[in-house]
């Protein structure tokens, strides 16, 4: 445990914390701006991973209805089901764990960033005393401590006394969740999606009332950056007012639960990158005999399998 803890500190936490302090010194010792810029930088560094994850997720959702069909078809033959599923994934050019690895790789970085912000704010004497053990011996870094916690109307070491940050965190998280919410397919999954859409923003808004506002700034910044990235990869996704048939109902293309890409919005409305990616990326590769066939505008593209439930 001691070795793991040392490894963690040396490899992730300390570089993150000291980097944060270095940036703080360059940004006129404004910790609020430092948190925002550091979040932007970290997200930029991890952009390739994020994009890979988003594209893999999108590709997975695009074939979801097909998987459901297979599950129904081979409900009593698990072996055959597995074979067919693998065949389907192979045909679509996706790896079942493709969206998991980029996400898993990002997790330690987020945890380290989270810890660095929390530790850097060091409000109590105990926290400040323990901080010294994690700082590099450079007088440049040492001379910056303690970090000043004032930002706009906030003291970053304590919760926001107003409703502004809780609302910002809640709303931005809802928007981000809504953009990726899928509606087609398994009713259990739909129910889960609806639940997640509201639970997570509410939960984080409540956390914002309780935790240091520096963390809330990080959550809000991270959400907003996430929305921007999401927009350029998948467009507005679930936020669009598109007409989606309820699960189990046949649509023109013949498959239940597959969201329509063209409804409620013209192709010109969607971001250029998203348009360009349509039918080009691995996750967007059209499937034979599925709504993703050439000429079928329902396939791939922004919000495939992620459209809102509103008719």
């Amino acid at each position: 445990m001691g070795l793991l803890s040392t490894l963690w500190n040396e490899a992730f936490f300390q570089p993150m914390l000291n980097g944060l302090i270095l940036l703080y010194s360059l940004l006129l010792q404004n910790f609020g701006l430092t948190i925002i810029l550091f979040t932007v930088l970290i997200r930029l560094v991890m952009l390739p991973l994020t994009l890979k994850q988003l594209q893999s997720t999108k590709a997975m959702t695009a074939v979801q209805s097909k998987v459901l069909e297979l599950q129904k078809k081979y409900a009593r033959d698990k072996k055959r089901l597995a074979e067919e599923q693998m065949k389907l994934y192979k045909e679509a050019g996706i790896s079942p764990t493709g969206c998991l690895w980029p996400m898993l790789l990002q997790i330690p970085i987020w945890i380290a960033l989270y810890q660095a912000i929390l530790k850097g704010l060091a409000a109590t004497p105990e926290e400040l005393q323990s901080l010294s053990g994690y700082l590099y011996s450079s007088s440049f870094v040492q001379g910056m401590v303690p970090l000043r916690g004032e930002f706009l109307w906030l003291n970053l070491a304590v919760p926001d006394p107003t409703l502004v940050l809780p609302l910002l965190v809640g709303v931005s998280m809802w928007v981000q969740q809504k953009m990726v919410t899928t509606t087609g397919g398994d009713p259990r999954q739909q129910s889960m999606n609806r639940f997640m859409l509201w639970m997570m923003p509410m939960m984080f808004a409540l956390f914002t009332f309780q935790f240091a506002s520096g963390l809330a700034i990080y959550w809000a910044a991270s959400n907003i950056i996430g929305i921007v990235i999401q927009y350029f990869v998948t467009g507005w996704g679930g936020l669009r007012r598109s007409a989606i048939p309820p699960a189990g109902k046949k649509v023109a293309n013949g498959t239940a639960g597959i969201p329509r890409q063209d409804s409620g919005r013209s192709d010109r409305d969607r971001p250029g990158k998203a348009r360009a990616q349509e039918g080009r990326g691995r996750g967007n590769r059209p499937l034979k005999g599925t709504p993703g066939a050439p000429g079928d505008r329902n396939a791939g593209g922004p919000g495939a399998g992620e459209s809102p439930p509103r008719p």
């Binding site: 998991l100 704010l121 105990e126 005393q129 010294s132 990726v180 999606n193 639940f195 639970m199 309780q210």
Partner: protein
């Protein structure tokens, strides 16, 4: 779906596991005659009678008390201040209370003062009570708590040390890296000096010098003018107040080294003594022995710097050491106050007293007064989550 839930589950776990440490408090002891006053890390102030404790009488013996009797006054870092019949208690929640020194009952219905977090002990000098609260220094009427200056002195960051009053000048350090000299009459600035690191404790006066610990080393200034006398640079933080004794200055660093220097020149008297602990509290001198606490209490010969002995207390030291007539009083982090009979050969425990049974810190953060509400809300969300899953399962079954 699993892949989407996973980050949230991990984040939830993270939020539970990586929250900031709550402010615990715990102070050094204050000695007034036979009485030892100390604030525990559970938000209680205790008045202990040395005679009763050495006889092992049940608490409270006559003259002993705990404030508040039930519950907690919040985290208290500042050592209580005993003055005549009164005892002043300042909490990290920013509340200053005046207690009856005999009974421990609060004097008056309301707190004497309410402000931002207090870490340094209040000081009573010339009939004025000086209190550092947040980043401000207040001069208060000790009876009414009314501010005596037109406006408090404002530092650039928090003030965690007590002010030191000498004649008509107040000296105090701040986490904003500055040491300030102020006029007692109105709190106006006489001079200020910017150090290379934050200052988290009180300065010490001696023979015209002002000595203080900073995060980039030890400093000595001319008290009159604020000009630099010497600076001992260090890559390790100095936190606790230095000790001045017979033209010498002593202090311990966070890397566990004890230093002895000439007050006039800053010349090191002996090679720094390395120990296993990390020094965050002020040293004391008892029976010609230099005492300093970290993971244990260390005793050194102040002249030659030889380590005489080290005494385990069962837990690290939790506050400044105080030595009176050869007896050192210290609180350890196991919530036990020790009275040590100090000699060059070793220290004998005269008595020890456990303030309370240790209770683990509660709450998700230092600002967690209403954490039970969030616990209930969290449980509610889990129930909703479960119901949504059940509904989904039924939907899938149809």
């Amino acid at each position: 779906m699993t892949s989407r839930l996973l980050p949230f589950l991990l984040l939830g776990l993270l939020l539970l596991s990586c929250t900031s440490a709550p402010a615990r408090g715990g102070s050094g002891a204050a000695v007034a005659g036979e009485r030892v006053l100390v604030a525990s890390a559970e938000g209680k102030v205790f008045a202990l009678d040395a005679g009763a404790r050495s006889r092992g009488l049940p608490f409270p013996a006559p003259g002993e008390w705990a404030f508040p009797e039930n519950g907690s006054a919040g985290a208290i870092y500042a050592a209580p201040l005993a003055q005549g019949e009164r005892v002043y208690v300042a909490s990290y929640q920013g509340q200053l209370s005046a207690l009856d020194g005999l009974t421990g009952k609060a004097l008056g219905d309301k707190a004497l003062f309410k402000g931002e977090a207090v870490v340094g002990a209040p000081v009573l000098e010339g009939g004025v009570l000086y209190l550092a609260s947040g980043s401000k220094l207040f001069a208060l009427n000790p009876l009414t708590g009314q501010p005596l200056w037109p406006k408090p002195f404002q530092a650039g960051n928090r003030i965690w040390g007590s002010p030191v009053v000498a004649g008509e000048t107040i000296y105090l350090g701040s986490l904003d890296h500055h040491i300030y000299a102020l006029r007692t009459k109105d709190g106006s600035l006489i001079w200020e000096y910017k150090a290379g690191g934050a200052i988290a404790s009180s300065p010490t006066l001696g023979e015209g010098g002002l000595f203080f610990s900073a995060f980039d080393g030890l400093y000595a200034l001319e008290a009159e003018t604020g000009s630099l006398r010497w600076h001992l640079p260090s890559r390790s933080w100095f936190w606790g107040r230095p000790l001045f004794w017979q033209g010498k200055v002593f202090a311990g660093s966070q890397e566990g080294r004890i230093y002895g220097l000439e007050a006039r020149t800053g010349k090191q008297l002996w090679e720094p003594v390395s120990t296993g602990g990390s020094f965050n509290f002020a040293p004391a001198l008892g029976e010609g022995v230099l005492l300093i606490g970290s993971d244990r209490v260390y005793a050194l010969d102040p002249e030659g710097g030889q380590l005489l002995w080290a005494r385990e207390l069962g837990a690290p030291v939790a506050g400044d050491l105080v030595a009176v007539e050869g007896v050192a009083y210290v609180q350890a982090k196991n919530l036990t106050v020790f009275a040590l009979n100090v000699k060059r050969e070793g220290a004998e425990v005269l008595w020890s007293f456990t303030l309370e049974e240790r209770v683990p810190p509660s709450g998700p953060s230092s600002n967690s007064s209403n954490w039970p509400l969030y616990l209930v809300l969290g449980a509610g969300l889990l129930v909703v989550f479960y119901l949504a899953l059940r509904r989904g399962s039924r939907g899938a079954g149809k």
